[in-house]
């Protein structure tokens, strides 16, 4: 590996930083701070020795306030930046942030793109995990931002979440575990009920934070620093949690994201699931009915038996479409369970 290292380092740094998109608001804020007589980095720089010397003057106190008054300070270990986007053959599309679509060009808030956030797909009263790569508001590092985004509506209208954005949130990725400490307002949605669905909703957090951290570690969830909280009055958070593969929906589409545009020429629909022997059937409908249908055989995803990654190649003319993917299910009768599928609307330019 003698000279793989520079390349590895370069790639790791870019994958960590390039998904981060600063707000477009910076120049306005800078100008306002200048107009307000703010002294910027200069001032803070000079204050450091004063503070360090514990000079208790008014100026130093001001400096301390400046340095500590910010939001849920991640004691998060510096973001271990894996983008789990890497294994997807098509880069996850940037999903439009609500502010970008509704309020024109100026984005007031910085965002991180390509962040995996799990949501629920419901079939009757049953809920299972589905994944979206989303553009999420930056809140601390990537793992913290991803957990916070659990409380935002999923992009796909077929998905839902019972999480609310916690007013206080701290995600600490340690060597042997991940500790998530949040405020109880995260569990304020009464629609979660207090039954088995609450366990699946907790798994949403486990899958999301481990994916965003790029580490499959046990997750300890604390509420106001305490262990043992009953999430939504149901599932008790009294022990470290691991990913439970049985909670995944039997299929989800990773790309295109809901509503996303695909290029002319060849389009790829990619995703994962538990189709029998890796088989998934699909159909694509346009404005005047079905335009394509067939089946695809996936390749095994990682070390996980019975879990597959699929890639459906299509050649569609410009227009608006809906794709539906259904995992093969040979079971019948009571063993069959609900029929799961995933659908995405997309356009071809």
């Amino acid at each position: 590996m003698s000279d793989e290292l520079p390349e590895l380092l370069r790639r790791a740094l870019h994958s960590e930083a390039d998904g981060y998109i600063p707000s477009d608001d910076g120049l306005r804020v800078i100008r306002k701070r200048i107009a307000d007589g703010d002294r910027g980095g200069e001032r803070r720089h000079r204050l450091v020795p004063l503070v360090a010397a514990a000079a208790a003057g008014v100026v130093a106190v001001g400096g301390v306030a400046l340095a500590t008054s910010r939001e849920p300070e991640g004691r998060t270990s510096p973001a271990p930046g894996a983008t789990p986007t890497a294994e997807v053959s098509v880069a996850p599309p940037v999903t439009p942030s609500p502010s970008a679509t509704t309020s024109g060009d100026a984005r007031k808030q910085s965002v991180i793109t390509g962040v995996p956030v799990y949501a629920l797909r419901m079939e009757g009263s049953e809920g299972r995990l589905v994944r979206e790569f989303r553009e999420v508001p930056a809140r601390g590092d990537k793992a913290t931002s991803a957990v916070s985004a659990l409380g935002l509506p999923p992009v796909d209208p077929d998905y839902r979440t019972f999480w609310r954005q916690p007013s206080r949130l701290d995600v600490d990725v340690r060597a042997d575990r991940i500790v998530v400490d949040l405020s109880p307002d995260a569990f304020a949605d009464p629609d979660a009920g207090s039954g088995t669905l609450t366990a699946v909703a907790v798994q949403q957090l486990v899958w999301t934070v481990t994916a965003a951290a790029g580490k499959d570690l046990p997750v300890t969830v604390l509420v106001d620093g305490e262990r043992g909280y009953a999430a939504w009055g149901g599932y008790r958070l009294d022990r470290p949690l691991r990913r439970e593969p049985a909670n995944r929906a039997p299929v989800w589409i990773d790309t295109p994201a809901e509503g996303a545009p695909l290029p002319a020429g060849t389009q790829h629909v990619t995703g994962q699931g538990a189709g029998f022997e890796g088989t998934f059937t699909y159909r694509v409908t346009g404005t005047s009915g079905q335009v394509a249908a067939g089946f695809v055989t996936g390749t095994q995803a990682g070390r996980s038996a019975g879990w597959w990654t699929f890639d459906i190649a299509l050649r569609l003319p410009p227009g608006a479409y809906t794709v539906t993917v259904v995992p093969d299910n040979p079971a019948s009768g009571d063993e069959r369970g609900p029929d799961w599928e995933d659908t995405k609307r997309f356009t071809v330019r």
Partner: protein, 186 residues
Amino acid sequence: MTGPAGTGYAVPDDPAAWDADIAVTALYSAHWRPLVRLAVLLTGDASVAEEIVQDAFVALYRRWTSLSDPRAALAYVRATVVNGSRSRVRHRVVEERHRPAPAPEPAGPEEVALRAAEDALVLDALRGLPRRQQEVLVLRYYADLSEAEIAAAIGVSRGSVKRHASRGMAALRERLGAMASLGGAR
């Protein structure tokens, strides 16, 4: 004064002809994003990165008339960002200095996340290096700066930059080798 960068007035090509306002506007439109990303890497915290870079621009404005060479404006802003990032992580570093080595690659059921896991290992190993070495490696391998530019950004000699770079890379190799994650275990 409130329009986005690039609207309003034309920016003269030569920095020597800039006033403080133009300097801030011109440098902002060309360098805001990369500088914020640099601060994200240097602090590991996206929520403070923008403020650190804003600080640097405000400081540039205040210092504009005393800047000996206007062409060095970008170098000045960059150095302020590196410095601001350093003071921001200082208190955190103390508690994390002796973090144990990261766990081995996740046996994640989710992905063939080799690449992602590898990136995470490399970044973890990087975070474990002494601060100067981290800064030099980030400026070199992310920002693609020359030795002279790195020296200016972190306020050390070019010789020190060389030394930090080679020690940093050697230490990274050692840490990653110890985790047997590169080359071998895939």
